[in-house]
């Protein structure tokens, strides 16, 4: 069977599965809609959290990025896993004991202020929209590449599916669909990784093959990473395993980006809200462990895949003449994600450090003397002749390793599972922020259960449409705004959630001033760099890492202002005492 047939089967089967699960877990209460009734087992919640967390970016892009960044790729590996330790130790158990529906709920109640609630809900909505646009785009790209439909049609199909299962089943439907999606995406990630590890290093465990010896070709018997270091140096790159190489990121920058990603992860509303769904505090603690365990399966495999694909790529296309280059190279050239310009007219593909030309390939429609697609871009004056989009490393891996067609189809289904699971979690946060935090808590406290549930469903529809719009008309700044999502989550939520639990003295004035200071500093710094080409004036820290400085600023301002103003009222201090002790979490569930 062809790749296309297999893909239709895989995608059809998995989508039917997701919709059936949603139908079975249809909900009738707001508690079911927002937090799955608080009755999800820690193991299932851990799996759902893992799927919720691992987005199209983790599945499709991360290994490719690491493969080109080498050591520096650790910022993603450390940053996107270490935050779970903060979450498990500092936030999740206490927020579960608090036992409401959303993050703005906690901020509003703990700081006895609707201003604080409002700032929190604006941040939650902004962070979620930023994120969800990328997921919808991811769905569209997978559809267009593997099912040969238009990107926009792909986005529309994705929108319809997510809307159906999220509005029917609410958090309950999303949770059990995410359990299924985790299973699909992890199998889709591991099967090619294991096959490639076997092929290159002879061991089926990628994490061992990564540090093992090569079992094929001219480098037989040598360590994989040593070979990569040598190849990188020969081609004019820094050693693969070398930290803080010339021209790369400084130690301080790596430190700050990792911290911003970690703290940002712990402050992301769609991740935090998952811990409201388990039955008790013990469940919340354990569930964080399961979540990270399931995430770690992919996150320890990704750097191995990164090194395998770099080794494979260099070996199969560098210094090979174009007419002898492998078929996958030409296939991806057709999609505009790879390109070759014969700068020195020797018909050989020369891969070196640096960009081959300015911008993304613009094909003229003509082919050159060797059959290559001609680009009209302005060439750079270095020796590098090929353009490689980072995203293709995971998607092209099965082709590079000559794996059967069903594996390629499986990878497509996995990419869709990763994108859809994250999108649905984010849509629910947007819906609950508007229907619960904004409408019910701030506008109409007398709304009936039925009205609130209906509004929640309508808001999912609204959020799907906005997300779909951004998926079809991606704003040019999608890549830039990702820095915003983490920067904002780090500089707004984390410090005040943490202080709200661990310091009874922290008050309303402190929280509002701290959040505002952290957010404003972070936003201004990022906008200045990303939109006005400003300098990284703060110690050379890049836009992605500035959230950690914003977080510290928030922390300091909150503490200082709190100490200078009156302590919180007694009932708030009692509430803090109450959330510090697990007993009674199940009973505490009311509005």
């Amino acid at each position: 069977m062809s790749i296309l047939d297999w893909t239709y089967i895989m995608v059809g089967v998995t989508f039917t599965l997701y919709l059936s699960i949603a139908w079975i877990s249809m909900v009738k209460t707001t508690k079911g809609f927002y937090v799955a009734g608080g009755g999800v087992s820690p193991l299932a919640n851990g799996m759902a959290t893992a799927a919720d967390w691992m987005s199209a970016a983790s599945f499709i892009s991360m290994a490719g990025l690491i493969s080109f960044m080498g050591y520096t790729g650790s910022i993603y590996l450390l940053g996107w896993t270490g935050g779970y330790v903060l979450l498990a130790l500092l936030l999740a158990p206490y927020l579960r004991k608090f036992g409401k529906f959303t993050v703005p709920d906690f901020v509003g109640d703990r700081y006895y202020s609707n201003t604080a609630r409002f700032i929190a809900l604006i941040c939650a909505i902004f962070i979620s929209f930023t994120y969800v646009a990328g997921q919808m785009r991811g769905v569209g790209i997978v559809f267009s590449r593997f099912l040969e439909v238009d990107v926009n049609t792909g986005v529309l199909i994705g929108m319809a599916i997510v809307f159906l299962y999220a509005s029917l089943g609410g958090m309950k439907g999303i949770t059990y669909t995410q359990v299924a999606q985790y299973s699909v995406l992890i199998i889709a990630y591991l099967v090619p990784a294991i096959a490639i590890s076997l092929k290159i290093t002879g061991t089926p465990i990628p994490q061992l093959g990564f540090g093992g010896v090569i079992a094929e070709g001219v480098d037989n018997g040598k360590y994989l990473l040593e070979t990569l270091n040598r190849l990188n140096v020969e081609l004019g790159f820094a050693e693969y395993t070398k930290p803080f190489a010339e021209g790369g990121k400084s130690m301080l920058d790596v430190f700050c980006i990792t911290l911003a990603l970690m703290v940002g992860t712990a402050g992301l509303p769609h991740v935090i809200v998952r811990f409201y769904t388990v039955p008790n505090v013990r469940g919340a603690r354990l569930s964080a462990g399961y979540a990270l365990l399931f995430i770690a399966v992919l996150y320890t495999t990704a750097p191995a895949v990164a090194s395998f694909s770099r080794y494979n790529m260099i070996n199969s296309i560098s210094n090979v003449s174009y007419d002898k280059s492998p078929a996958w190279f030409k296939n991806w050239e057709q999609t505009g994600l790879m390109a070759w310009v014969d700068k020195n007219h020797d018909s050989i593909i020369n891969y070196r450090s640096g960009k081959p030309f300015i911008g993304k390939p613009q094909f003229t429609g003509e082919t050159g003397s060797y059959g290559q697609l001609i680009v009209s871009n302005t060439l750079t004056d270095n020796d590098n002749e090929i353009y490689i989009d980072r995203d293709i490393m995971v998607l092209a891996n099965p082709e590079i390793a000559n794996l059967p067609n069903w594996v390629i189809a499986l990878v497509a289904a996995g990419g869709l599972a990763a994108a859809l699971s994250t999108a649905s979690g984010l849509l629910l946060v947007i819906s609950s922020s508007i229907s619960h935090d904004f409408y019910y808590r701030l506008i109409n406290r007398n709304a009936s259960e039925k009205q609130r549930l209906l509004l929640g469903r309508i808001m999912i529809g609204f959020a799907v449409c906005v997300a779909g719009y951004f998926g079809i008309h991606p704003p040019g700044f999608v890549a830039q705004v990702v820095a915003f999502a983490f920067g904002l989550a780090a500089s707004s939520f984390f410090p005040i959630l943490f202080l709200g639990i661990f310091s009874k003295r922290t008050n309303r004035e402190g929280a509002i001033c701290g959040m505002s200071a952290g957010i404003l500093f972070t936003i201004i710094y990022i906008i200045n760099i990303k939109f006005f080409g400003g300098t990284t004036w703060c110690l050379g820290i890049s836009a992605e890492g500035i959230g950690s400085v914003g977080m510290l600023l928030n922390l300091v301002v909150t503490i200082v202002v709190s100490l200078l103003t009156t302590p919180p009222p007694q009932e708030v201090q009692d509430m803090v005492d109450n959330i510090r002790f697990p007993r009674g979490a199940g009973a505490h569930f009311n509005n």
């Binding site: 690491i66 050591y71 790729g73 650790s74 590996l77 450390l78 896993t81 270490g82 779970y84 330790v85 498990a88 130790l89 500092l90 158990p93 994490q207 990564f210 540090g211 093992g212 010896v213 360590y223 994989l224 990473l225 040593e226 395993t241 070398k242 930290p243 803080f244 130690m251 790596v254 430190f255 990792t258 911290l259 008790n280 505090v281 013990r282 603690r285 354990l286 964080a288 462990g289 990270l292 365990l293 770690a296 996150y299 320890t300 750097p303 005492d577 510090r580 002790f581 697990p582 007993r583 009674g584 979490a585 199940g586």
Partner: protein, 86 residues
Amino acid sequence: MADNTSAAQYWKANIRLVIGCLIVWFVVSYGCGILFAESLNSIRLGGYKLGFWFAQQGSIYTFVFLIFFYAIRMNQLDRKFNVEEK
């Protein structure tokens, strides 16, 4: 909570445990994986350089271990101070 002194002791024990875990969290990821990665890279672990291994593998394993360790220890503390959920 039983009474005020035992409640305070429970909270103190929790804080001690959290600080201990966070020290390990910091030393492994920011220490071994970033601040001392260059010097640790002169030590080898099979085909890995040690600093690189901590940054791309070792830290993640440690994170998983830490969360389960904390969960188990806290559940013991809950029972010891009689604040666990029934």
